[in-house]
């Protein structure tokens, strides 16, 4: 916990960045459970506070070798430890796909339930740092498509903490996608024990004319759009999925049944993405409630650019969301 955090006695929250919220979640879980340990590229060096408190056995630097970091986590998870690994950036997951997808995701099933894999894999992605396509690739849907894994992508500091704590306590391998653009934006985090369950979406704003479904940084674009739309007399409900797997279908369907319109927003590309899955679920289960076609607003089918203006254009923004909703509600 940083010295710069402020405690508000009135609301019992603290202001901290998602980056700090993740460290706090990890520290609390490591204090709570001696089997939790963390390792990865620079974990002990950058997380010197954790290293100082928990020592070199439980906070370890590793070689720059994502495959063996993930494989070691899977092997340790199956035999009594609860590793939290940091692979830095989401595109680096390509080096760890075998260990995460084929081992951690499948060996429970293959073995007839003999093993479980309580491990968390943290990666960063998304526009905001102009790091380009080999450090920024919203590939979260790859893991939604892989059996045995859970996937979360929080949108605010409180959820970063609460979802990471839940992920560490879960007995399944959880992929934790941290949106780079959010990491240093301070937010309110409830003081003390704060756990956000996996698989439970958050209705970030209530509304009645249209449902905006999103996750990660795009939730804030949806909230900004909803605010603009309210000035125009359009009431938009904003759903923050928080977990992509398990997916909280009920919250999404209940909202769409109420509003009759769905706009699905994410920074990841459209083909076979989370939006495609949501569109299919809505079409299958709430078709009769729809008063307009389902709309997806996503990043393009292109590698993420490094140039700031192009990067900003890559992610669907509030203006595009407002325009899409206006088109839906005016017809």
């Amino acid at each position: 916990m940083s010295m710069h955090e402020e405690t508000s006695m009135r609301t019992m929250t603290m202001t901290m960045t998602p980056d700090a919220a993740m460290v706090e979640a990890l520290a609390e879980e490591m204090r709570r459970d001696a089997s939790v340990l963390t390792f990865g590229e620079g974990v002990a060096t950058k997380g010197y506070e954790l290293a100082k408190e928990f020592g070199p056995q439980r906070v370890r630097n590793t070689p720059l070798a994502e495959g063996i970091i993930a494989g070691t986590a899977a092997g340790a998870a199956a035999t009594g430890l609860r590793p939290v690994i940091d692979l830095l950036f989401a595109p680096f997951l390509t080096f760890a796909m075998e260990e995460i997808v084929n081992s951690a995701g499948k060996l429970r099933y293959i073995s007839g339930g003999q093993f479980s894999f309580p491990m968390v894999t943290i990666v960063r992605t998304g526009s905001g740092w102009a790091v380009g396509a080999q450090h920024n690739h919203n590939n979260e849907a790859w893991f939604v498509h892989s059996p045995g894994l859970k996937v979360v992508m929080p949108s605010n500091a409180a959820d970063f903490k609460g979802l990471l704590k839940s992920a560490i306590r879960d007995d399944n391998p959880v992929m934790f996608f941290a949106d780079i653009g959010l990491l240093h934006t301070p937010g309110e985090v409830p003081a003390g024990e704060h756990v956000v369950p996996l698989g439970k979406a958050n209705v970030a704003r209530e509304g009645s004319n249209v449902t905006l479904v999103s996750y990660g940084k795009s939730v804030h674009s949806c909230l900004a759009a909803a605010s603009t739309l309210a000035d125009e007399g359009v009431s938009a409900e904003v759903i923050d999925l928080r977990s992509l797997k398990p997916l909280d279908e009920e919250t999404v369907l209940a909202s769409v049944r109420k509003t009759g319109r769905a706009v699905l927003v994410h920074e990841a590309a459209a083909p076979c993405g989370v939006g495609a899955e949501l569109a299919a679920i809505i079409a299958e289960k709430a078709f009769s409630s729809l008063r307009a076609p389902i709309v997806r607003l996503t990043g393009p089918d292109a590698p993420a650019p490094a140039s700031f203006p192009l990067e900003a254009a890559y992610a669907p923004g509030a203006d595009a969301i407002v325009a899409a909703v206006q088109k839906l509600t005016s017809s």
Binding site: R60, P63, G71, T79, S103, R108, S111, G112
Partner: protein, 322 residues
């Protein structure tokens, strides 16, 4: 007669019987496949001395990671051939409830963990299992079996490097069987011996004749003792040969017949039988009785596996999540 021979004698007869059991089991599996009664599988025929010799050096504290060519390791560790064969046939009585098939059989109660069929998968998982041993205590070590094919995967480097740097108690057993699926090892690597690579990582290494069960047992005992007391990895290469094809059925048309024949002359079981008979460690009558016992055991296993039920359709989606 020296003390060593006295203590070693019961072990050698057992080594022969275990090797015979593995051979009979795999030939039975292959026969079921040929008869259309079983899916395909990968056998370790010709490599039995490696499996048995290494297992001779282990005890119940130790954990084992194997691969797609696992029947020898499983049987040598004491797994029930009935349940291995049932697993190969996808039956509910198999060790994994029929959900593994032949390729990734794990038996947690015997310490055979996380069997992966992705070549090199076992190498990626072994350091983590050893990390648990390091952090949770105990004197157990982790043994990982892989081949020259897996040694060609990048993960071999990552695995042995981290085990060396973190002082993890892993015995790396490379069963160099000269074949990487359908490609001869000589086409893919300059070195004849994987063990020569160990020095680059600061890991002690040794090559042993993988077709000589006593030699493997002795080398493995030294290696296990080193890993157990030093809490550091060791690389043991058992130099051997895959006498059958990569997976059943396989005509082995790609195999040089002269090379195959030269290794058949060094068959680890036939060689050992002759040696035990010559040493009078076993009598011809005892050998006959042993072979009859093995035959009956494997016939019973086949009957058990064939008669076992398939899993219920409900099992399609169980054990996906914990």
């Amino acid at each position: 007669m020296t003390a060593f021979e006295v203590t070693a004698e019961p072990r050698v007869a057992q080594s022969l019987e275990t090797m015979l059991t593995i051979r009979a089991f795999e030939e039975q599996s292959a026969a079921l496949q040929a008869a259309g009664k079983s899916p395909s599988m990968c056998t370790s025929v010709g490599q039995e001395a490696s499996a048995v010799g290494v297992m001779n050096a282990l005890d119940e504290r130790d954990q084992i990671l194997t691969n797609h060519r696992s029947a020898g390791h499983l049987i040598a560790r004491g797994a029930d051939p009935r349940r291995i064969l049932a697993e190969i046939l996808g039956k509910s009585t198999g060790y994994c409830g029929g959900k593994s098939g032949s390729l990734h059989i794990s038996v947690k109660e015997l310490g055979v963990l996380l069997t992966s069929t992705i070549v090199g998968g076992e190498l990626s998982l072994a350091p983590g299992v050893a990390l648990s041993r390091q952090m949770l205590g105990g004197e157990g070590i982790v043994v990982v079996f892989f081949g020259d094919g897996a040694a060609s995967e990048g993960i071999f480097h990552e695995s042995i490097n981290i085990a060396a740097m973190w002082n993890l108690p892993v015995l790396y057993v490379c069963e160099n069987n000269q074949w990487q699926a359908y490609v001869h090892r000589k086409e893919t690597m300059h070195a004849d011996h994987i063990s020569t690579w160990g020095a680059s990582y600061g890991v002690k290494s040794l090559t042993v004749d993988g077709n000589d069960v006593d030699a493997v047992t002795a080398a493995a005992k030294d290696a296990v003792s080193y890993v157990r007391t030093e809490r550091k990895p060791f690389l043991l290469e058992t130099y051997t040969y895959r006498l059958r094809g990569h997976m059943e059925p396989d005509t082995q048309q790609y195999v040089d017949p002269k090379e195959l024949d030269s290794w058949k002359q060094r068959d680890p079981i036939a060689t050992y039988e002759k040696q035990l008979l010559a040493d009078r460690a076993i009598t011809p009558a005892e050998l006959d009785a042993m072979k009859a016992r093995v035959r009956a055991k494997i016939e019973e296993a086949a009957q058990y596996a064939m008669e076992s039920p398939y899993p219920s359709f409900q099992e399609l989606t169980t054990n996906v999540y914990a």
